[in-house]
C-alpha cells in the first residue's frame, strides 16, 4: 500500500509564531462583535421565515433576508480577516511546462503513431471525413432550415389591398367625418386589427392635415383625398411604431431614436437616423364616406433589408 508514496514534506511551526497570530489586537473584543453580528443575522433570518409565513410585504421579506445574510457575511469576513492567522504564507509556483523530451514524446505519439496509421489508409480516412462532412451539412437542415419559413416576399407586402376598409384598433370603420382637422388615428386593414401581422406590419397612421402648404409628391396626387394622408407607422430605421405626433410642427416622431418625419412633405425624415420616408398608403373616400385603400403600399414598410428593392 505504501510503496510508491512520495513523502509529504512535513513542516511545523510553533504556535507562538507571529504569522499564526490574528490581526486583531484584542481578539476577545472582536469575537464578541462578530458574535453579535451572527446573532443578528440568525434573528433576521428567523424573521424572514416568519415574514414569509404570514405573507408579509415584499420589502419586509427582502429586508430581513438581505440584512440577515449581510450580517452573517460581514461577520464571517471579519472572522477570516481579524481572528485567523494573518500570515503571510508562501507557496512555490511550479513551472507548468514539461521538459522538451516529454513534449517530443507527446508529439511523436500523435505524428508517428497516429499519422503513420492514417497515411497508410488514406482511402479510409478520406471516406470517413467525407461521411462526417456530408452528415454535418445535412444535420444543418433540421437544425437551421426548420427554424422558420423562408422570407420569400413576405417582407414586401402588407394586408392592405385594393378596397380594404380602414378600421381603428377597436375594428370600427373610419369615416371621413371622424377626424378633426389636425388629428391622427392608427388604422388597420379591416379584420386584421387583432392579428399579430395586422398589429405589427399593417399598422398605419391616418392624419387629417391642417396645413394648407401641403406638398404633394409626384405621382401621388390622388393618394390623399380630402386632406387625409396615410403613412406606414413603422419607423424606417428599426421598425418602432412612430407613435408621437407633434401637431404644431406636423412631425411624426419616433420615440426610439428620435427620427422625425415631415407629414406635410411625403413623411421625408428631417432629423435622426431614419434613412427613408415612411411609405405612403394610397387611400380614397368611398361613396358612403369611408376611408379605403387604393392598393397595398408601393414599397416594403419598416426597416431596410437586403431584398428590399
Amino acid at each position: 500500500m505504501t510503496e510508491h508514496h512520495t513523502p509529504v514534506t512535513l513542516s511545523s511551526v510553533s504556535e507562538n509564531d507571529p504569522r499564526l497570530q490574528p490581526l486583531a489586537k484584542n481578539p476577545q473584543d472582536v469575537e464578541r462583535r462578530i458574535a453579535v453580528l451572527f446573532v443578528a443575522g440568525m434573528v433576521l433570518e428567523a424573521c424572514f421565515g416568519w415574514a414569509y409565513w404570514i405573507n408579509a410585504q415584499p420589502w419586509i421579506l427582502g429586508f430581513t433576508f438581505g440584512m440577515g445574510l449581510t450580517f452573517l457575511g460581514i461577520g464571517l469576513i471579519a472572522w477570516g480577516k481579524y481572528l485567523m492567522p494573518q500570515g503571510p504564507f508562501v507557496e512555490e509556483r511550479h513551472v507548468l511546462a514539461n521538459s522538451a523530451a516529454d513534449r517530443d514524446a507527446f508529439t511523436a505519439a500523435i505524428v508517428d503513431r497516429g499519422g503513420g496509421v492514417i497515411k497508410r489508409r488514406k482511402l479510409l480516412a478520406g471516406l470517413l471525413g467525407g461521411g462526417l462532412g456530408v452528415f454535418s451539412i445535412t444535420a444543418l437542415f433540421p437544425l437551421i432550415r426548420s427554424l422558420g419559413p423562408l422570407p420569400g416576399t413576405t417582407l414586401q407586402h402588407t394586408d392592405w389591398k385594393k378596397g380594404t376598409f380602414a378600421v381603428d384598433v377597436t375594428g370600427r370603420r373610419v369615416h371621413v367625418d371622424d377626424l378633426a382637422v389636425g388629428s391622427i388615428v392608427t388604422i388597420f386593414p379591416e379584420g386584421k386589427e387583432e392579428t399579430d401581422n395586422g398589429q405589427a406590419v399593417d399598422q398605419t397612421v391616418l392624419i387629417r392635415i391642417s396645413n394648407s402648404n401641403f406638398t404633394t409628391q409626384k405621382g401621388r396626387e390622388t393618394w390623399g383625398p380630402s386632406g387625409y394622408v396615410a403613412y406606414s407607422k413603422l419607423c424606417t430605421h428599426l421598425g418602432c411604431p412612430v407613435g408621437l405626433y407633434e401637431q404644431k410642427l406636423q412631425l411624426l416622431v419616433c420615440p426610439c431614436h428620435q427620427s422625425m418625419f415631415d407629414v406635410t412633405n411625403g413623411a421625408i425624415p428631417n432629423f435622426g437616423p431614419a434613412p427613408r420616408p415612411l411609405p405612403q398608403l394610397p387611400i380614397y373616400v368611398d361613396a358612403k364616406g369611408f376611408i379605403r385603400a387604393q392598393s397595398d403600399f408601393h414599397e416594403a414598410v419598416g426597416p431596410g433589408f437586403w431584398e428590399r428593392s
Binding site: 504556535e15 507562538n16 414569509y52 507548468l96 432629423f271
Partner: protein
C-alpha cells in the same frame, strides 16, 4: 477479557488513531479515491490578497444568485404568447387581453409569495453580474494579468461577458411588456439589416415574420437552458485555469515570479470568500427589497402598434442604443437591393469590432511589445502608460456611446435642442478618446517617474535641531504594524505547542486565541 478494555471511551478513541472519526473517514475515502494528497494541496493553495481581486468574486457570486432566483422564477413563468384575460389582483390591468407570458410575470409580482422579491433580485443580480464582469475585466486589463500564460482565460472571460449581455437581453424580453417588446422589435430589425442573409436569419430566429408566436418560447429556452449551461461550463473552465495557473500577484517584498504570497485556501480564504458570497447575496436581497426595477405592470402588455415614450434598455445595452442614435442615416440602395448601413454599422459591425479588439488584445499587445515571456507579477496601471492610455481611451469611447443613448433625456433636462445634443455627442465620441489617450499617457508617465512610486509609504520622524533646522529620519516600524512585516513561510503541516514560557522567537506580543 481484553474486549472490556475496548469498551472504555478512552480506548475506543485510541483505536481510532490520532484524528478520530474524521481520520477514519479520510482513510476510507483515500483508499477508494486517493484524495489525501490532492485535498491537502487544495487546502494549501495560496491566494494573494488585494481588493481588486474581489471583482471577479462579485461576478461569480452574483451569478450564483442569478441561478438560484432564476430557478424560482422558472417555476411560475409561462413562456407562451397565447392570449388570456388578466384576472389577477392588479386592478388597472383587470380584464385586459394579455399574453400568458405577461400575465404570469405580473402574477409572479403580485400573486406568488416572495415572487416580486425574486424578480427584482434576479434583475438586480443580472445588472451587478454584467457590471462586475466589466470591472473585473478592467482590473485584469490595467494590471496586465491577461499576459502569457493567461490569454486563454482572458478569451473565456470576454466570451462570458458577451454571453452575460446576451442572456440579460433575452431575460429582459421574457415578460413581454411594452418596453421589452420594443427591444425585441429592434433585435429583429438589426438581424434583418445583415446583408444577403438578414431576412433569412431573422425569420429563422423568430420562426416567422415579426412578431410571430415562437419568439417567447425560444428566448425562454435560450435564457434558462442553453446560455446558462454554456456560462456554467465556461465559468468552470475559467476557475479551473485560475487554479491550474495560480493567481497573479502585485510585486512586493518577498514576492517573485516563482511564488505566491497570501493566505491559504483553508480556512482563511474560504472564510472570507464564503462571507463575501453571503454579503453579495445579502446586498442583492436588500436591493431587491428596496429598489424597484422593471415594474412591468406599469409599462403594460406589449402591443406592436403602441410604444412607451421612455424606451431605455438595461445599461449594458446602452452603448448599442447610443451608437444607433448618433450614427448618420447613410444607407445603400441600388441594383434592387438595400444595405441598411444606418443599422448594420452601429449595431453589428461596431460591437463586432469592439469585442474582437478586446478578445485579441493579449495577441495585439504581444505583437506590439514583442514581449512573449511568462508573467505572474502584475503591473500597476502607471507602469505601462501605453496600455493604460489605450484602455482609458477605449473605455471612454464606450462610455460616451452609453451616454448618447439618452440624447432625448439630456435635451429635455438641459432644455437644449435635440440636434445640438446629437451633434455634441457625435463630436464627443471622436474627441474624448483622442483627448483621453495623450492625457492618460502623460499622467501615467509622470506618476511612474515619481520617486518612491509603488513603494509603501513609511513614516518619517522629523526633529528640530538646535540650529532651528529640521532632521528627518525614517521612523522605526510601529509595533502595531510589525505583524505585516514578517517574511512569508510555507504553510506548516503541524502546529507545535510552544514550550512553556517561550517568547523567544517573537519579540512580538503574544495574544490569547
Amino acid at each position: 477479557m481484553s474486549d472490556s478494555s475496548l469498551t472504555t471511551k478512552r480506548a475506543k478513541k485510541q483505536a481510532l488513531g490520532p484524528y478520530g472519526k474524521l481520520g477514519q473517514a479520510v482513510n476510507e475515502l483515500d483508499e477508494r479515491l486517493g484524495v489525501a494528497k490532492g485535498g491537502r494541496t487544495f487546502m494549501d493553495k495560496i491566494f494573494p490578497d488585494h481588493w481588486s481581486f474581489m471583482l471577479g468574486e462579485i461576478a461569480l457570486y452574483s451569478f450564483v444568485v442569478l441561478l438560484a432566483t432564476g430557478v424560482f422564477l422558472t417555476l411560475y413563468y409561462v413562456p407562451s404568447t397565447a392570449l388570456v384575460t388578466y384576472r389577477g389582483s392588479y386592478a388597472p390591468l383587470y380584464g385586459q387581453h394579455v399574453t400568458q407570458a405577461f400575465a404570469s410575470s405580473v402574477d409572479l409580482s403580485f400573486a406568488v409569495r416572495g415572487g416580486l422579491l425574486m424578480r427584482q433580485m434576479h434583475h438586480w443580480a443580472c445588472d451587478i453580474f454584467v457590471g462586475a464582469i466589466v470591472m473585473h475585466m478592467g482590473r485584469v486589463f490595467f494590471t496586465g494579468a491577461f499576459r502569457k500564460p493567461r490569454e486563454t482565460n482572458w478569451l473565456i472571460g470576454v466570451i462570458l461577458l458577451i454571453l452575460g449581455i446576451g442572456n440579460g437581453f433575452l431575460g429582459y424580453s421574457l415578460p413581454d411588456d411594452l418596453v421589452s417588446g420594443t427591444g425585441i422589435r429592434i433585435a429583429f430589425s438589426i438581424t434583418e439589416s445583415i446583408p444577403l442573409v438578414g431576412s433569412y436569419l431573422s425569420f429563422f430566429l423568430f420562426g416567422s415574420n415579426y412578431p410571430g408566436t415562437a419568439v417567447i418560447p425560444r428566448f425562454f429556452v435560450l435564457h434558462v437552458l442553453l446560455l446558462p449551461a454554456i456560462i456554467v461550463g465556461l465559468v468552470g473552465a475559467h476557475l479551473f485555469l485560475l487554479v491550474r495557473q495560480k493567481h497573479t500577484q502585485f510585486p512586493g517584498p518577498g514576492r517573485t515570479e516563482n511564488n505566491v504570497v497570501g493566505s491559504p485556501m483553508f480556512p482563511i480564504f474560504m472564510a472570507k470568500t464564503t462571507g463575501f458570497l453571503l454579503l453579495v447575496a445579502g446586498v442583492i436581497g436588500l436591493l431587491g427589497a428596496t429598489a424597484q426595477i422593471n415594474p412591468i405592470w406599469q409599462f403594460g402588455p406589449y402591443e406592436a402598434a403602441r410604444i412607451s415614450y421612455a424606451v431605455q434598455p438595461d445599461f449594458y445595452m446602452g452603448f448599442l442604443d447610443g451608437a444607433l442614435r448618433i450614427w448618420p442615416s447613410w444607407t445603400f440602395h441600388s441594383f434592387g437591393h438595400t444595405i441598411p448601413f444606418e443599422v448594420f454599422i452601429p449595431s453589428v459591425i461596431l460591437p463586432g469590432v469592439i469585442f474582437n479588439i478586446i478578445m485579441a488584445w493579449p495577441a495585439i499587445e504581444a505583437k506590439i511589445t514583442g514581449d512573449r515571456s511568462i508573467h505572474h507579477l502584475l503591473e500597476r496601471p502607471k507602469d505601462n502608460p501605453q496600455r493604460t492610455a489605450f484602455g482609458v481611451a477605449f473605455f471612454s469611447l464606450i462610455a460616451i456611446l452609453f451616454i448618447a443613448s439618452s440624447t432625448d433625456v439630456i435635451a429635455n433636462f438641459f432644455r437644449l435642442d435635440l440636434a445640438t445634443v446629437l451633434w455634441a455627442m457625435r463630436i464627443l465620441t471622436i474627441a474624448v478618446p483622442l483627448i483621453a489617450y495623450p492625457l492618460t499617457l502623460r499622467i501615467a508617465k509622470e506618476l511612474r517617474a515619481l520617486e518612491g512610486s509603488s513603494q509603501r509609504k513609511t513614516a518619517n520622524l522629523v526633529t528640530r535641531n538646535a540650529e532651528g533646522g529640521y532632521d528627518a529620519v525614517s521612523a522605526p516600524i510601529h509595533p502595531d504594524d510589525a505583524l505585516t512585516h514578517h517574511t512569508a513561510i510555507a504553510l506548516p503541516t503541524f502546529i507545535t505547542e510552544a514550550p512553556a514560557g517561550d517568547t523567544s522567537d517573537t519579540g512580538v506580543r503574544t495574544v490569547e486565541r
